[in-house]
Amino acid sequence: MTSLLTPTGSAPKSAPGPARAANAVEMLRKAPPWTGIAVLVVAMFVYMSATNEFFLTYANLNNVMRGAVVPLLLAIGTTYVITIGMIDLSLASLMALNTVILLGFMEAGLPVPLAVLAVIVASAVLGGLGNGLFIAKFQMSFMVVTLGTMSVFKAIAQLRTDGNSVQLYDREGFDFVVWLGDGSVGPISVPVALALILLVGSMLLMKYTTLGRSLLAIGGNPEAARIAGIPVERVQMAAFALNGIFVGIAGVVMAGRIQAASPTIGAGMELEVIAAVLLGGSSFMGGKSTFVGTFIGVLFVSLLANVLNLMEVQMFWQGMVTGLVLIVAVGIDRMRSRGRT
């Protein structure tokens, strides 16, 4: 069915467009939502480089990046979910469960690379079906469902290992997982490279696939998306399945990093991850998300922790500073875009 309507050549000029009087204030207002955080990141970077001899070393920066991989992977997953206006509180439990599932598949005799793949698939299924099905098909509140699966996933993992973590370093073939979780090729960390590739992949997916556009459309107005023919439930489930995939990869990386399967690892990370994504400028209301922002948000949180450690700040003060900086960071962005509406 070809369209009846062919555009005529004489399309009117596309409006006044980016006003020629593109003054600084306007530019600042139009800047991406993560500009404020990015400035803080740069500021921290500059300050620390100048005042701390250890900060600007390959070892330290590599540590920061390596430590940021798991939160970044989880944050990428969360970005998909937040795009459709939801959040997933079960992600840390699911990640822990994934390390235990990996143990299970390895004990069942699967070759390790296959076990890794199977974990990712299992995680996608648990995320996509466990959470997605209830939320999309049965239209249950995502908060309640993911709070429920948060308990359930954790309980399954605990039941499997009696609540203990199980060391894996001496298992046959586990080297591969360690390589994924903490290996390096020359000076380049494998998990860091992996996470960055997946980040770019996610940006492309969001921008250049119908799925990505549909996620955004649903986040903007699910009812309108449905009427326009977007398969809302399927896309919502896809968001949770994608999230599951990233939680699965995070689980594998985490298992490689701590060389163990642990039913409680990462507990409490969900809020930290969500905070990083929101810091990056994705909207809690859905329909507006940014993977670049997510990256910067995670980087910001990791860098801040590194800086506080290097400056030997006492733990309670670390909590204080982290909380305050979080508020200041969004405050800056809010001030910047003031009067935007």
Partner: protein, 305 residues
């Protein structure tokens, strides 16, 4: 309201215990449960009742209250407190209901407990720092600067171990160069923090971690930074001992928690019977790759007097 068949008794004899676990499962919990179960088996009692509070004080209070409501059926509480200072009222209620309360955590220097709830049985926390320091001087004489990994400040047991360790270390010419507190005391958190530590301080040559999970994190960090550290840790659960066996951790120091739980039951029995109870301090063992194994529950149960 309890039947004879439940095997409980309100006037002397064996006691039915409940394990009021403030945290989740895993690690020491297995040993505690095994010890309590061993006692129950030996005395032909039902298995111990177990509650879990998963770190929630309010839940633990509720758990204790719900056990107190069954005081006819349950005679003694063995408590791993979320916050020892928060449980006094609940302990008082339990004691009013004629239950024995055994809380093996955080005795002060005199073996008295913060909560005044019990002074019956506990690991010898005051003794372990000396044990650790002497291990270091004997086996790793070159260790000069130690970093200490602890839970957040404010927990009596770990705070006390930390301060005693510093004293003992000083007398042995070892400096506690850094003290790091961890929020979640997990492997992952310790790994990150120790990496950051090693970035800025290359002369640290040993780590004392206040639990096995943090010790493993420290070991991973040392490996990733290409530093050779001596790592010692508290705990003797299966995970920690496995790490000792593999050489990730050089030495672990643990009390016999199985026996602790067993002895707690015995002490509860005495409390119930109105007998005089002497404080029992259980020594710490030193585990190295040479002896990093503990017997299975059945064996230990058979060995118990």
């Amino acid at each position: 309201a309890c039947g004879e068949d439940s095997g409980s008794s309100s006037d002397g004899g064996a006691v039915r215990m409940a394990f009021v676990n403030g945290f989740s499962g895993g690690g020491p919990v297995d040993d505690f449960v095994a010890g309590l179960t061993c006692y129950a088996d030996k005395n032909d009692l039902d298995d111990p009742v177990i509650t879990v509070a998963d770190g929630d004080v309010n839940k633990q209070l509720n758990d204790i209250d719900s056990l107190v409501a069954r005081s006819g059926q349950i005679d003694g509480l063995f408590v791993m407190p979320v916050d020892p200072a928060a449980l006094k009222p609940a302990y008082d209620r339990a004691k009013d209901a004629d239950m024995a309360v055994i809380d093996p955590v955080s005795p002060d220097a005199e073996g008295k407990f913060a909560t005044d709830a019990s002074s019956h049985v506990a690991p010898d926390d005051a003794g372990v720092p000396a044990l650790m320091v002497s291990y270091l001087s004997e086996n790793h004489a070159d260790v000069k600067r130690v970093a200490l990994l602890s839970p957040p400040p404010g927990q009596p047991m770990s705070d006390q171990r930390a301060s005693l360790f510093k004293e003992e270390a000083a007398t042995a010419g070892i400096e506690v160069a850094r003290e790091l507190n961890m929020e979640k005391i997990t492997t992952e958190e310790a790994q990150k923090k120790v990496e950051d530590l090693l970035t800025s301080d290359k002369s640290i040559d040993a780590i004392f971690a206040q639990n096995g999970a943090m010790a493993r994190g420290a070991a991973l960090a040392a490996k990733s930074q290409g530093v050779d550290l001596v790592i010692i840790s508290i705990d003797s659960d299966a995970e920690t001992l496995a790490a000792v066996k593999s050489g990730d951790i050089d030495a672990a120091f643990g009390a016999d928690l199985f026996n602790l739980a067993y002895q707690a039951s015995v002490q509860a029995e005495k409390v119930k019977a109105g007998e005089k109870v002497d404080f029992l301090s259980l020594p710490y063992e030193t585990y190295t790759s040479a002896n990093a194994a503990v017997a299975g529950a059945a064996e230990r149960c058979a060995a118990v007097k």
